[in-house]
Amino acid sequence: MFTYAWLVPGLPLLGTIINGIFGRFLPRKVVGTLASALVGGSFLVSVAVFIQLLGLPEEERHVTSALYTWISAGNFFAEAGILIDPLSVFMMLVVSGVGFFIHVYSTGYMGHDEGYSRYFTYLNLFAASMLILVMANNFLLLFVGWELVGICSYLLISFWYSRPSAVAAGKKAFITTRVGDLGFTLGVVLIFVAFGTLAYDQVFAAAGEVATGVITAITVLLFIGAIGKSAQIPLYVWLPDAMEGPTPVSALIHAATMVTAGVYLVARASPLYVHAPGVLLIVAFVGAVTALFAATIALVNNDIKRVLAYSTISQIGLMFLGVGVGAFAAGLFHLLTHAFFKALLFLGAGSVMHALAGETDIRNMGGLRGKMQVTYWTFLVAGLAIAGIAPLSGFFSKDEILAAALTAPGGHWLLYALGLAASLLTAFYIFRLFFKAFHGEPRMSAERLERAHESPPSMTVPLVVLAIGAAVAGFVGVPGFLAPEAGWTHAVAHFLEPGLAREPLVEAELPPAIGVMLMLIALAVGIAGIAAAWHFYVRRPGTAARLAQRAPAVYNTLLNKYWVDEAYNALFVRPGKALAAFFWRGIDAAVVDGFVNGVARAVAGLSLLVRRTETGYLRNYALAIFAGAVVLVGYLISTR
């Protein structure tokens, strides 16, 4: 019924093949248009799937289509199949929709780059991989998408491979996520061992029959994978460095692909997670702590893209907080709204950088308001949305997560407090960024100020479209208690929840009074953050500097990102390198090479021997055949 849905990853994949092989010979216009159009096409197909899915009765919205059997040998059976259910369709829409606008934006942003066709080859592959990841109907295909996403991020982060910092960042991203991937791989293997199959349907149906210890191990391992891909404590360090890639790539990684994979994984495997409440609590705490931790670093960082990177880590943390307390739909709802406003923030930052010849330091910006109206207003919308100001999208999704953190059976007041603190800081740092870039006195050179200009339409149109999305996307998730008599329902939750496991974690229906109170608290926190930023950077510029002087220890700790990179270097990288050096010199060079060289010498000796038999003389060859025949027949006769 949904067999045609293979087109969704298929179209971008086609773009990868065409641009990968012929891109060099095609005009830039064709390359960029083709890549964007194919992702746009996959968005349209996703919409068609969505509409068709809505036409089905709720309990039938779960359709598995086997595309083909990839391998079946003995008791191992793997098929490539797609699962169409509310969760996968939801992710398809987000990935292909946001991905489409990022493609369009890239045609302008990368317009002058030498590696234009290479860029779009990778970008299409990235979109296709992520779509494979979310559409798979079994863990093996999920694994394929998961790994493809990893390799694409590596290729795109180190896209400008002549820059050593970009290459280092690509490597860091790849190796760090690899640590998580190891957990994920082990989790998948354990699933096969425990369930004897990798198909979602069969695994989830049998989830209750497997020992709790095994389920706990599986879910922990899968979550380790999610931590790596979604940049959570302790594996978040790759994401800020990933800013070395082109800005639209950052937008794609942060908003639509890659980092959301972890959230998707936990939501997809929710039937397993509900059997391991302890693991869910870990998920929630890792998310909440990450949310606050990353937000504090974002407070003082001066690089526009890195602030956004820490912001992403923080926001993904909120999503994990949501799914961790069992509010899977709330976490996914925030994933949706975040996709809009984070893509918008990145593309806005890219627009600013485009205007200022690649400048990323906000200390060298300021006063851009008059120069770039579209960027200014769209950035403001995104900022209000992420700060959680009603009625923009971020308000509803964030409020719902915070409410769930406090009131859901899996929740805890500490989780709520952590999330609320993160929200306060979020509103502050995002408006610090906003005020420093667009308000105040221009701090860049006069020449640069002169040249600063609004970006071309290929970049501003996506900004406007995403801004509309960031403004109104929240309305699909307005909580029902606000106007029950008007028939308002939480459309996202209503749509998603049949596909998610809920039974053991039934949420208490929130009394309207408490719901409204929590909303007002969240709103107040957001406004307070913005007001503080306004006070610090517009009304009394210099307040922040004085504060930094008064508490230099705190300021330096934050500015140096808690020295986590340094600690990892000392703890893992340097010992790792030392170990590698030991293995290289001590083991590899001495033992392995010695062995290999020994084998090679033995082979050389053997080949000499063989060469001696390979005399080229027929009589020797015939003798070998004869001797072989004698031994063979002699043996066979001896068996009786």
Binding site: Y68, W70, A73, G74, F76, E614, A629, V633, L636, T639
Partner: protein, 482 residues
Amino acid sequence: MRIPVDPSDWLILIPEFILLGTAIAILMIDAFAKAASDRSSPWISLAGTAGAIVAAVFLWGNPLSGFGGMIVNDDFGVLVSTAILTGTALAVLISVDYVRREELPAGEYYALILLSTIGMLLMVSSANLIMIFLSLEVLSIALYVLTGFARMRPRSQEAGMKYFLLGSFSAAILVYGVALIYGATGTVDLQSIADELISPGVLGNPVLLAGAGLVLVGLGFKVAAVPFQMWTPDVYEGAPSTVAAFMSIGSKAAAFAALVRVLIFAMGGLRPEWLAAVWVIAALTMTVGNLVAIAQDNIKRMLAYSSIAHAGYILVAVAAANRLGLQSIPFYLIAYAFMNLGAWAVVTAVTRKGEEAVGLSDYSGLFWSHPVLAGSMGLFMFALAGIPPTAGFTAKIYVFMAAVAADMIGLLIIAIVTTIISAYFYLRVTVIMFMERPAEPPVVTVPTPLAVAIAVAAAGTIWLFLFPGVTQSFTDTVARLL
């Protein structure tokens, strides 16, 4: 003895007759219009091969037996025939330019290729030891001539002579084995042999065992199993490359089909007796083939040892003699047809001073001057080494699964270790092509037919990895023959 022939029996031989008609037509054109024949014979043979493939596919799922049970058509045979015909079609494609360049007589060349293919197809369908011997001769005699076909080259002549003498020697051993089996069982019909084996007197008869051993020697020679492999590097190196490519697929596939029919279908009851022998031969073949390939710096000799090694992997599946094994043999042969012919096709494209450039050093930096060709070669090397995403990976997985299912863990370990060893010399080619700078680039000519052959081989190599299920649903029905 009178053999009853039913008119419908001829149906089984339609592919063979199509090829025969094509070969005769080419020879006639060659006799009366030499110039036209030089131009047209490759395309006529290609059309004939295509016709034979269609006819073979037509016979699918339609088990037939004819000529008094001497010839059978079953799904196993159809699949192996497909592998052989695929190899023939690709070999014809890569020959188009090669034959012209080497100034070989075109008409005779293509006619001999087709005649040899007929022998291969007959061998696949043989259900009788005499038929196996006859078709072995049909395919071999044409191959002896083809090996020595480059008459101006002493190496080609020498190879042809060696192949002929050793081939005759081993064929004689095979006939002697057939005679002994007949002596023990009173029949040369494979089905009757299988029936005879039920009686205990026959089962332990040393004459029967000796006969089985000698037949194994004769067929082992054709598949290039150790210790009957020594001719392979000399012959592959001396023969025209296109001929080496052709025989590395066809005669191997045909001989394996016969081996399966004799060892598994007819003498499955003797497996406890022959298992250890085949086990040792498989282990030796994988080990020697892969180890000695490391020492080669001539790419044709390297591919010869590679073909020996691959025979070893297929022998693992023969030794397993279970459903998975039977399934994996046709799959392996089809995958091997694509990846091996692809590699040979690239070899014919790289020349220096009008001669084939066969030294590995001739490939250094090939990627920088011919990225697509070098990329394809890299793909074929990955496939032969059994690295995903290629058919070679899937084929090896099936063989390994068969070994697991047959509890042959020791042989499995040898197979895996030798696979790892083989990565060394396959990947060395890739390293040379991609990482070294060329000293003096060779001349590379890729005419359209060759490009098509390489493209088809590459597509097949990837296709069988992505969609092994297609072939597998076919091989599933093969497994039911057990």
